[in-house]
Every structure is written in structure tokens, then in C-alpha cells.
């Protein structure tokens, strides 16, 4: 508790200090950044002229009324990778084996070994098993080994409550929406990739096609229309759940109430909103 208070005081102090400093520095800082951001801002301004208003469906959605969260039950995951494929198709992520908004890791403890063998669908052996970079399979590579323990862990952006990636963004391109999703404004992103390095979970990647950073949005275009994220929609074993924590009857509220959940790397202070059941000490 003391630790937390201390941290809050520290943060408050820093904020006040920056507030004072802000007035003096802002003018110069804005002038400096203006040069690099200018073309994109001009583009953004053009895109939001009154002639092209946002779709009415999106307007009807009230972000202040929702608090989204995600749950993963690793004991159910069968490693079929349909979530990975669905995410790629739904979000138009580059169709190669190196750019993923969500992925699945396999942890395998072989007989007599203390550290797990970890691979994901991006492992060369698994790409070879799938045949092409557009198909995703886990190869049966441990079939002749003696396996002590093994399990799959689906991973995605944790949409943290205190996201380090948002803190380091120099242009305000990545931010946390009022309903809890951490998203990227691609018209403001300058592709500096500070956020890619800041994320302790490796959830972000640089999209070489758009020249901007990309990441999981919890399928923001789906959840705001009352749909489930694509990975949740296709999961055949309900290993992934998603919902609104403001709704006590939602799947995620029940998931959080019925299970003892944990988050990845709690020591980083990011306070993730993706909650796990059935992961192990070596999962991070």
C-alpha cells in the first residue's frame, strides 16, 4: 500500500512539475514537432472535413458506457490457431508469418528439463508444417519426445490501464479510449516505433505496408457494433472470452468472478486488462 501511495505522489509531483514547465516549453516543442507531423496532420484534417462524417453506427455507440476486458483460459486452448488466421483476415494484417496482432505460444517441458521449449506459429518448423506462410499450424515436433507438461498460451495486446506505449508516444497517435481499448490513430503515427520498444509484451509491430505501428485493437470496429472480436468469434473451444465489465451478466464478468485470474508481467505496473487462467510460472 505504502509503495502505491508513494508512486502516486511521485506521479502527481511529476505532473505538477511538467505542468509548470509545459507553458514555457510547449511553444518550442510544438514548433519543433510541427515540421515532421505537418503532412500527416494536413491529411487528417482533410479526412475529417464535414463532407465525410463518421458512420452513424459509430456515433450511436457511447464509449463512456463500456469497460471492455478480455479473458484467456489457457487450459482450454487447443492451439488450432484459427484466432491468428481470423485476426489477419479481419484486420488486414500483412499475410506473412512475421506480423501478428495476436499469436499463440506453446510451452513444452521435456522430461528432466527445467526450462520450457517455447515456440509460436512464427517458428520456422511450424511454418514448414503449415506449408505456406499464410497457413498457421503447430507441427507435431515433440511426438517422439517424452513430454512432462505442455500447454498453449494465446497472446495479444493487454490494453493496459497504465500503458507504457501511450506514455512514450511523441505525437498522441496512440491512446487509450474511454472504454478501455488502446488504439492507434494511423493518421498521426509517424512510425518512430518508440511504443514498439516500450511495450513489455511485444504486442506491437511496425507495419511495413502502411509505414506505421500496428497492434491489436480488440477489433474496435466490431465491439463498437455489438460484435465479438474476430479471435473470440472463431475460437472453437471458448478459450478466449471478451465483454463489458460494466455488465455484470457478461461473459467476461462471469469469467473474472468464477476464476482466479492473473496477468502477464504485473511487476511492470502496466496493469493489463487481458486476464489469464491456467498459465505457468515461466509464461511472461
Amino acid at each position: 500500500m505504502d509503495e502505491k501511495e508513494k508512486l502516486e505522489k511521485q506521479q502527481a509531483g511529476r505532473r505538477a512539475f511538467l505542468g509548470c514547465l509545459g507553458g514555457a516549453v510547449a511553444g518550442g516543442a510544438v514548433a519543433v514537432t510541427a515540421g515532421s507531423v505537418l503532412p500527416k496532420q494536413a491529411l487528417a484534417a482533410a479526412a475529417t472535413t464535414p463532407e465525410s462524417p463518421p458512420a452513424p453506427a459509430a456515433k450511436a455507440y457511447d464509449p463512456t458506457k463500456h469497460k471492455w476486458a478480455f479473458g484467456v483460459d489457457a487450459t482450454k486452448c487447443i492451439g488450432c490457431l484459427r484466432c491468428v488466421e481470423a485476426c489477419k483476415l479481419e484486420n488486414e494484417v500483412a499475410l506473412d508469418a512475421h506480423h501478428f496482432r495476436t499469436w499463440v505460444e506453446r510451452y513444452v517441458y521435456l522430461d528432466g528439463e527445467d526450462t520450457p521449449h517455447v515456440d509460436s506459429q512464427a517458428d520456422p518448423v511450424n511454418i514448414a508444417a503449415a506449408g505456406t506462410e499464410r497457413d498457421y499450424r503447430f507441427s507435431n515436433r515433440y511426438k517422439d519426445e517424452k513430454v512432462d507438461k505442455a500447454f498453449f498460451v494465446p497472446k495479444l495486446c493487454n490494453h493496459c490501464t497504465h500503458p507504457a506505449c501511450v506514455q512514450v508516444c511523441p505525437t498522441g497517435a496512440t491512446f487509450k479510449t474511454e472504454d478501455g481499448a488502446v488504439v492507434i490513430d494511423h493518421t498521426y503515427c509517424i512510425g518512430c516505433q518508440y511504443c514498439v520498444q516500450a511495450c513489455p509484451y511485444g504486442a506491437r509491430f511496425f507495419n511495413p505496408e502502411k509505414r506505421v505501428t500496428d497492434k491489436c485493437t480488440w477489433c474496435y470496429h466490431r465491439i463498437t457494433k455489438g460484435l465479438m472480436p474476430a479471435c473470440v468469434e472463431v475460437c472453437p473451444v471458448s478459450a478466449r472470452v471478451f465483454g463489458d465489465r460494466n455488465d455484470k451478466e457478461s461473459t467476461i464478468s462471469k469469467f473474472l468472478a468464477d476464476n482466479r485470474v492473473e496477468v502477464l508481467k504485473p511487476e511492470t505496473g502496466n496493469a493489463p486488462n487481458v486476464f489469464y487462467v491456467g498459465i505457468d510460472k515461466d509464461v511472461s
Binding site: A45, T48, A58, A173
Partner: protein
């Protein structure tokens, strides 16, 4: 005022003018409306077109498949195991083929201008979830594909939408009959099928003791209707009515025929004998996993081999057995027959 102070003030004024100009003309109007970001971006991100449409959108055109699926084990809502249409067939809305990924709000939609895939290689499609690999949880049904199916496709036996429904009208049912009445009618059967329904090498018929009644009734009915033919059985079947069939088959089904070897040893032997794919339906110990299919325990080697050969040759016909029998060579048929013949009646 000293010159250097004037310069400093001018410089500060210049900074202020630039800052205010940038704030008012370059920074988006919605910036800072909610926080340190462009508020309009939220609606823009939410604008993209969803590609996965959900299973409900399939029902109106594909009612038959939808109904089969919604009653099947692939729609087990109680345990959360629901394999939706788009898991195997892909999303109903496609990504725009134009490269550059700037068309998130557009793209073709099934059925107007997007044709969905019907997977043809079911070994790959089903194997995605059902191939036995390390880390897959035990509650997930999984098989070593080569042991379970040999070189066959999964859809040879399983209906893809309802995998516990088996193809080829393989489900036989029969009303239970009166075994005592059946015994009095079954006197003529003993000549070929042995007393108490157990044959030996000198008799031509298969063992009937302990056989599944539904299978026996289906076989006898098939002889009667001409679907199966055999010089002796066709004549015999013509003399019985449907009540007799139920009674006679109940009688033979009630007779005891037990297997001897232990199941684990049998399973290992089955794999060795190349009978692994037979065991899915006929069991490792020759006792079938469904009453629709015949038990093989206690059957003679010659009878099993002859049955397999007649499936391969087309004298007997069954969607699954024909394909499987054709995939076996003559020595393999002998091995399988010998394996099941080893599961003798006590």
C-alpha cells in the same frame, strides 16, 4: 530598453505566434477534446467493416447444413465448444484484394461477390483441431491421424457438419424381439452357423452369437429385399417375416460370445496387424463401438477375409467398407482377418 532584451522579447513573441498558429491551424480541432489524442480517430477506427459475419447469417441459404450442424457435437454450447461456420469456411466478408491495406472499410461480401471455400482436404482441416499433438488438452478429442484413418479422408466416415453422424446410412435400428420365439425359428440356421450360433472351420456361415441385433436384422432384411445376395441366405430370408427377423436376431444376439485377450494387448496387436483403422468402429477386441456395426470377435479368419474381398470386389457394398477394403492388399486383408479371428469366443 537594452538591445539584447528587445531581441529576446521579439524571439519569445515569435515563438508564441508560431505556437498559437500551429495550435489553431495545424493541430486537429478534436485534439484534446477527450485527451491527448484526436477524438475523431476513435470513430474512424470504429468505421472499418467487420469481415466475420457470424453463423446466423448462413442459415437462410444453407438451412440443411445449418440444422445438421446446430444439432451436432460441433455445436456443444454447454461446454463452449462451438465450431462456427466461418472457422472452416472462412469469413463471409473478404479483405480487399487491392494491396496497400487502405480498404478496411470496403471489400467483397458473400454471397454477392465472394465465394467461400469448401475444404477438400479434410485430413488437414479436421487435423487443425483433432490431430494428436503435445500441449493439446486431454478433453479435446484427438487422434493420431495415420493410425485412425490410414490414408483416408475424415469425411469418408464422418459428416463434416455433424462428425458423430456417420456417412452411408450406417445407422441400423431394430425393434427388440422375443428371443424364445426366435430360438424356435432358428433351428434351420444351425446347419451353417453352428449350434448356439458359433461356427467352426467346417461350417460356411459366420458366427452369430453375441452379434449386435440391429446389425443382424439389417443384414437379414438386406437378404430379404435383395440388397445382399447369397445362394443360401436369399432363400432362407424369403421364408421369414419382419417379426421373425426381430425374434431370430434377438435370440442370436442374446447368446454369449466373449473375447479373451486384454484390450491393451489387442490394441498393440491391431496396430501391428494394420487393423488400426478398423478398430475405430469394430473395436480393438472385436466388439463394435455402435450396435449398428457388426462385432468381429469370434468370426472365422476365412469369413472376414471373404467379406473384405467381396467389399473390394463390389459384391457387397457400403460406402465406408468398400473404400477401406479397396485400400488393403491381399496380404493385409489376411493379416487383419487373422487379427480379428484371434479375438475368439469363449
Amino acid at each position: 530598453m537594452p538591445k539584447h532584451i528587445v531581441r529576446l522579447l521579439l524571439l519569445l513573441a515569435g515563438f508564441a505566434i508560431v505556437a498559437i498558429t500551429v495550435r489553431n491551424h495545424v493541430v486537429d480541432k478534436s485534439f484534446y477534446k477527450i485527451g491527448h489524442y484526436r477524438a475523431d480517430a476513435v470513430a474512424e477506427i470504429a468505421q472499418d467493416k467487420p469481415k466475420f459475419q457470424g453463423s446466423a447469417s448462413c442459415e437462410s441459404c444453407h438451412a440443411v447444413q445449418f440444422t445438421a450442424w446446430s444439432k451436432s457435437i460441433h455445436h456443444s454450447t454447454d461446454v463452449g465448444k462451438v465450431v462456427k461456420c466461418e472457422v472452416c469456411h472462412g469469413p463471409g466478408g473478404g479483405r480487399d484484394p487491392d494491396p496497400g491495406y487502405v480498404h478496411a472499410a470496403t471489400g467483397p461480401v458473400h454471397p454477392v461477390n465472394l465465394k467461400l471455400a469448401v475444404p477438400t482436404d479434410s485430413r488437414t482441416t479436421c487435423g487443425v483441431c483433432h490431430e494428436q499433438i503435445a500441449a493439446r488438452p486431454l478433453q479435446q478429442r484427438q487422434v493420431v491421424i495415420n493410425d485412425h484413418a490410414g490414408t483416408q479422408q475424415c469425411t469418408l466416415c464422418h459428416d463434416a457438419h455433424s462428425p458423430q453422424t456417420f456417412n452411408g446410412s450406417l445407422v441400423a435400428t431394430a425393434a427388440p424381439g422375443n428371443a424364445v420365439a426366435g430360438k424356435s425359428k432358428a433351428g434351420a440356421c444351425a446347419a451353417c452357423h453352428g449350434a448356439a450360433g458359433i461356427t467352426n472351420a467346417s461350417l460356411p456361415g459366420p458366427t452369430l452369437a453375441g452379434q449386435n441385433q440391429a446389425y443382424l436384422a439389417a443384414a437379414l432384411t438386406a437378404y430379404k429385399t435383395g440388397k445382399r445376395s447369397n445362394p443360401i441366405m436369399t432363400g432362407m430370408a424369403a421364408t421369414v417375416n419382419s417379426a421373425d427377423i426381430n425374434n431370430i436376431t434377438s435370440y442370436f444376439s442374446s447368446l454369449r460370445c466373449e473375447t479373451s485377450a486384454s484390450i491393451a494387448a489387442q490394441a498393440a496387436a491391431a496396430r501391428k496387424a494394420g487393423a488400426a483403422m478398423c478398430t475405430n468402429c469394430h473395436g480393438t477386441n472385436g466388439v463394435s463401438t455402435s450396435s449398428s456395426w457388426p462385432n468381429l470377435a469370434g468370426q472365422s479368419k476365412d469369413y472376414i477375409a471373404a467379406a473384405l474381398k467381396s467389399y473390394a470386389g463390389g459384391q457387397r457394398s457400403n460406402v465406408i467398407m468398400t473404400t477401406l477394403a479397396k485400400s488393403l492388399s491381399e496380404p493385409e486383408i489376411d493379416k487383419v482377418a487373422a487379427y480379428y479371428a484371434g479375438a475368439t469366443c469363449k
